[in-house]
């Protein structure tokens, strides 16, 4: 179903603008009217990361008049494999500032608005209200549910995209008038159980996948702003880079959706999205109480010759990159399933670690439940070890 344009056209294009956007202006479906709509458009990108990078670069080049950036993070070297809006000299700089500088270089006619903050329930409405359309390029479930809930409650459309390893998904969620489409909760009413779905930081992502999905998001954004084509409302695009296939799946509005269904019960934002998505399960939290050591303490135990059985619960590829000396690799899945419990010695101090302390907390709950009462895990994981004990090792 075609939808009316989201944005009214600007009064006129300048001579500079006509020169710059000429390849748009000669497409009959965009033409001067469409380009004037883009000039008047205000688009917010949530996250200046993998998806946000190509999204903002192409939105800027396309002549979107106002581009907002929400990101509180700073550029890390491990971002540069895919976050192409940032460069080597931006490492350590605020992502929002770095992205803004790139946008100004691509197209100085774009007005950039920097929101150098984490999006939260207290600022999301105020920030979203200033924009016609939101592009969601966040990297965690808590922010994704926050973006969805705020967009639905404000009746605003947003272009959603998500990536992992070789897989990508994209859709337009617009539950309000006139689209009356489904929202993210129609597809996934609740977040997955904590620890069940790895993030890109844990599982990895093919860098160029960001461009594949980010460019779909920009395409949909331009279509919505200018009112051309068939928007990806009520459909989910699923991309498989290994198979090199794009498949579209129909997604209907869920009549039972708590947020956008006819009998919706959720009429405001949740009190705490981190809590809703449970960064760590309750079992894991209680397992870690009194059973958490720092990387520095681990080093002291090792130096004192304590009889340790140090278990790395990450995946083999991560173990290859960096590890704490004298550790054995037993991936978390094998610990949690019980498969690997027989490999744990009864008479030695068991110490678990992962990348940052979340997976090791989950594994610790399983190990303690199996009767290893004295087992502990390392706060901050191998990243903590790199930071506190051996900065010569690579962080990732």
């Amino acid at each position: 179903m075609p939808l009316p344009p989201l944005v009214q056209p600007a009064e006129a294009l300048s001579v500079d603008e006509i020169r710059r956007y000429s390849r748009h202006l000669i497409i009959p479906d965009v033409a001067t009217a469409g380009q004037k709509r883009l000039k008047n458009a205000r688009v917010l990108c949530v996250g200046a990361g993998g998806l946000g990078s190509p999204a903002m670069m192409y939105l800027a080049a396309a002549g979107v008049g106002t581009l907002g950036i929400v990101d509180f993070d700073t550029v890390d070297e491990s971002n540069l494999q895919r976050q192409v809006i940032h460069g080597q000299s931006d490492v350590g700089r605020s992502k929002a500032e770095s992205a803004a500088a790139s946008i100004r270089e691509i197209n100085p006619l774009v007005q950039v608005v920097i929101h150098n903050t984490a999006l939260d329930r207290d600022n999301v409405f105020e920030i979203f209200r200033g924009y016609d359309l939101i592009v969601d390029g966040t990297d965690n479930f808590a922010t994704r549910y926050l973006v969805n809930d705020a967009a639905v409650l404000l009746g605003k459309p947003y272009v959603w995209g998500s990536i992992y390893r070789f897989d990508g998904q994209a859709s337009v969620f617009w539950a309000g008038e006139p689209a009356n489409g489904p929202c993210y909760r129609c597809l996934y009413p609740e977040p997955p159980p904590p620890g069940m779905v790895p993030s890109c930081a844990e599982g990895g992502v093919l860098g160029v996948l960001c461009a594949s999905i980010g460019s779909i998001q920009v395409t949909e954004a331009i279509k919505l702003l200018t009112g051309v084509g068939e928007p990806l409302v009520g459909r989910l695009m699923v991309y498989d880079a290994l198979e090199m296939s794009y498949r579209t799946i129909t997604v209907r509005k869920d009549p039972q959706c708590v947020l956008c269904g006819p009998n919706a019960t959720q009429t405001e934002l949740l009190a705490d999205y981190e809590d809703f998505c449970g960064a760590v399960s309750e079992e894991a939290v209680s397992a870690t109480l009194g059973a958490t050591i720092t990387a520095t303490e681990l080093k002291e135990w090792q130096d004192a010759g304590k009889d340790l059985f140090l278990v790395d619960v990450r995946e083999p590829a991560e173990y290859e990159i960096v590890r704490i000396p004298n550790s054995v690799l037993i991936p978390k899945g094998e610990v949690v399933s019980g498969e690997a419990l027989a490999r744990l010695p009864q008479d030695r101090q068991i110490v678990l670690y992962c990348k940052s302390g979340v997976r090791s907390a989950e594994a610790l709950a399983a190990v303690k439940a199996a009767g290893f009462r004295d087992a502990v895990h390392v706060q901050g994981g191998v990243l903590g070890w790199v930071r506190l004990v051996d900065p010569s090792l690579p962080a990732y």
Binding site: T138, D139, F141, S162, L187, S337
Partner: protein, 80 residues
């Protein structure tokens, strides 16, 4: 017979893009059938996945799925 289509991590765990399943299964029975066919790794993925029956989210675990339905299995991921 209903057709199940696997996407992303579910496709990787199942090893096939789609397959047919016996008619009359409930969602709970379907998940158990698929896990026993393809292994526990798929079982784990199914624990977090969305099931779309002819495009609509299906939450009821105990009503038989419609005959001839297309059931899309979509694991969530949040990377960006």
């Amino acid at each position: 017979m209903p057709t199940v289509r696997f996407f992303a991590g579910a496709r990787a765990a199942a090893g096939v893009a789609e397959e047919q399943v016996p008619p009359g299964l409930t969602l709970a029975e379907l998940a158990a059938t698929l896990a026993s066919r393809h292994g526990e790794r798929l079982g784990t993925v199914l624990g977090a996945a969305a099931f779309l029956v002819d495009g609509q989210a299906w939450h009821d675990r105990h009503t038989p799925l419609p005959a001839g339905a297309t059931i899309d299995v979509l694991p969530p991921f949040a990377g960006g």
